[in-house]
Amino acid sequence: MAVDAAGSASGTVPIDERRARAWRLHGWLWLFLVLVSAFSLTIGAAGAQVRSALLTWVETGELDAAARIILFDIRMPRLALGLVVGAALAVSGAVMQGLFRNPLADPGLVGVGAGAGLGAIAAIVLGTALPVAFVDATGNYLVPFAAFLGGWATTLLLYRVSTRRGRTSVATMLLAGIALAALTGAVSGILVYMADDRQLRDLTFWGLGSLAGATWSKVYAAGPLIAIAFLAAPFLARGLNGLALGEAAAAHMGVALERLKTGAILIVASATGAAVAVSGGIGFVGIVVPHLLRIAVGPDHRTLLPNAALLGASLLVLADCISRTVIAPAELPIGIVTAVLGAPVFLWILLRSRGVVDL
C-alpha cells in the first residue's frame, strides 16, 4: 500500500492504512500509559525518602510504615483517580465534539460544569447550616456528592428544555445552555456573597481543580460511573461518524439520531459529572486530547474514543506529577497546570488549522 513520504497529511492516506495506524498508536498509548503510571508512583515531594525505603524493601523485604502510607494511601489512589478522571474528560470531549460537530465543543456545553460548580458552592457555603449529624455522616463527600447531583440536574433540565416531540435540537441546547449557565452563575453569585472568608478560599481552590485529597472511596464512587460511560461509548462511534456528515445524511445512513443524542448526553453527564465531582474544574484535557489524536490518526470515532481515553489518562497523570512536585512541599492546583500546558497547544492547533477548518 502506497503511503506518501509526507505521511502525516491524513487526507491522502488510504482508509485501511489509516485504521491500522490508529490501532498501532493504540498500542503505543498503552505503553505510554504504563510508563507514565510507573513514573508517577516513583516521584513526589517525599521522593528520596520513599526511594530509599523501597531499596530497603528490596533488600530486606520490609517496607517502612511512612513509605507505605505515601505509596498506598496517597500516590496510588491519586494515580487511579487521575487515570479515570483524565480518561473521562477526554472521552467526554470527543463525544461532545462529535455530537455538536464542532471541534471546540466541550462537556461544559451541556451544563455539567456549571451545575456541578453550583452544587459544590452550595455544599461549601450552606453545608455549615446543615444538621451536625448529617455533616458528620457525609464528611468529605458532601461536596463531591452535591457537585455530581448539580451536574446531573442541570444536564437533564437542559435536555428536557431542548427536546420537543421526541426530537432533541442541538442548536436549542447550545442556546439554552448559555441561559442556564447564566442562571447557575447568578445563584452561585448569591452564595459567594453569603460565604465567609474561609469558604471563599475553598471555593477558589475548588474552581482551580485538583486531584489532591484523592482517596480510594472517591475512586470507588467515581470509577463505576465513568466505567459505564466507557463501556457504552463504543456503541456511539458509528453514529457519531455518520453525524459528521450532517443530521440528514446520518439519518439516511440509518443512524438512530435520537438514541445517539440521548446516549451521548447521558454518557457525558455521567462521566464528566463524576470527574468534576471528585476533582473540581480541570480544563483543556477534553479539547486538546481529541484534537491531537484527530491530527495524528484522523477523526474515526471507533479509534478516536479508545485512544482519547488512554491519552487523556496519561496526560492528566503527567500534569498531576508536575502539580505535585513543582513547588513541593506545597502543590499547584492541577487546573492551572492543564491550562498553562493546554492553552498554548490549543492555540497552536487553531493557528495550524486556520483556513483548513472553518470553525
Binding site: 515531594a45 517502612d64 496517597i74 478560599r201 512541599p329 506545597a330
Partner: protein, 277 residues
C-alpha cells in the same frame, strides 16, 4: 547502601524521643513558636506564616487550607501545630493515618483567645513556663493599652472603618465578628460598620453616613497601597471626618489581624493613632 539505610532509619526514629521536627500552620502559631524561643525546632511553615523573617527561610508547605499530604510527610514532621481551619480534611485524615500528631489551636480573635493560643502552643512545644511568661507579658501590655484608652476616651469613642481593599474603587470593608472589628474594640474605638458580618462590599452612601473618624487598612498587596490622597478623594470617603483629618492608618496584615504575640503592640499603635499617646 547499608550505611544509607542506617542513616535513613535514624532519621525516622530519632525524632520520636523529642519533637524537634515541627511544622507550624497559621501565621499566629508560627509567631508564637518563635516568640517562645523555639524557632530552631521548626522544619517548615505554611504560606500565611510570614513573621518573623527567619520563618520565611523555612520550606513552605502551601496555603493552610490546601495542604498536600505528601508534601507534609516529605518533611517528616514529628508534630504539627495548626490553627483551626487547616486542611483540607482529606489531608488531615492521611496525616492521622501516618500517626503524625496534630494539635489544633482555636483561633478566636479576642484577648482571651490569644492567651489560650499561647498556652496551647506552649504546652505542645513542652515549654509551659515560657508560655505563661509570654502570656503574662502580652496581657500586661494589653492592660496598659486598655487603661490608657479608658482614661482618654471617656464617652467620646472614635469610629473606625476597616477597609480590606478598594479594588476598582469598590470598598470591601469589615463588618462585625472579624479580627479587624475585635482589634478596633481592643484599641478603644467603635467599629463604624455594624451592618453585616464578615468582610463584604460596602455601598458608598453608607460609608458617608457612617462618618468614620479613622480609616484602618492593611499595607500589603493589591491596591492596599493606594495613595492616601487618592483614597480620601473617593466620593464615599471625601466627606468623612477621617478625610478631613487625613486619619488613615496602615498596618501589616499579620501584625494587625493575626492575633499573635505582637497583638498588644498593634493595639497600642492603633489606640495612639486614635487618641494620641
Amino acid at each position: 547502601m547499608i550505611l544509607r539505610t542506617i542513616v535513613f532509619l535514624f532519621a525516622l526514629t530519632g525524632p520520636v524521643f523529642a519533637a524537634d521536627r515541627i511544622l507550624t500552620v497559621g501565621g499566629s502559631v508560627t509567631e508564637i513558636a518563635y516568640a517562645l524561643g523555639q524557632g530552631d525546632r521548626l522544619v517548615a511553615r505554611d504560606t500565611t506564616s510570614t513573621y518573623p523573617p527567619e520563618a520565611e527561610t523555612l520550606p513552605d508547605v502551601g496555603y493552610m487550607r490546601a495542604l498536600s499530604p505528601e508534601g507534609v510527610l516529605s518533611l517528616a514532621p514529628d508534630l504539627i501545630i495548626a490553627e483551626d481551619g487547616a486542611g483540607p480534611a482529606e489531608t488531615i485524615d492521611v496525616l492521622e493515618t501516618a500517626r503524625v500528631p496534630i494539635i489544633f489551636v482555636d483561633d478566636d480573635p479576642s484577648a482571651d483567645g490569644l492567651m489560650k493560643k499561647i498556652t496551647i502552643v506552649g504546652e505542645a512545644l513542652d515549654v509551659p513556663a515560657e508560655a505563661a511568661q509570654l502570656a503574662a507579658e502580652v496581657s500586661a501590655e494589653l492592660d496598659i493599652a486598655r487603661a490608657k484608652v479608658e482614661n482618654l476616651s471617656a464617652g467620646s469613642e472614635k469610629k473606625v472603618l476597616f477597609i480590606l481593599s478598594t479594588q476598582g474603587g469598590r470598598i470591601l470593608a469589615s463588618g462585625t465578628g472579624t479580627a479587624a472589628s475585635a482589634m478596633i474594640e481592643l484599641a478603644g474605638g467603635v467599629n463604624a460598620n455594624t451592618g453585616f458580618e464578615g468582610y463584604k462590599p460596602l455601598t458608598e452612601e453608607a460609608v458617608a453616613a457612617m462618618a468614620p473618624d479613622l480609616v484602618l487598612m492593611m499595607d500589603r498587596g493589591g491596591d492596599h497601597g493606594m495613595a492616601v490622597d487618592e483614597l480620601l478623594a473617593m466620593p464615599a470617603l471625601a466627606g468623612t471626618p477621617a478625610a478631613r483629618n487625613r486619619a488613615v492608618v496602615r498596618m501589616d496584615g499579620l501584625f494587625l489581624l493575626g492575633f499573635g504575640p505582637r497583638t498588644a503592640q498593634a493595639v497600642t499603635d492603633l489606640s495612639e493613632a486614635l487618641y494620641g499617646s
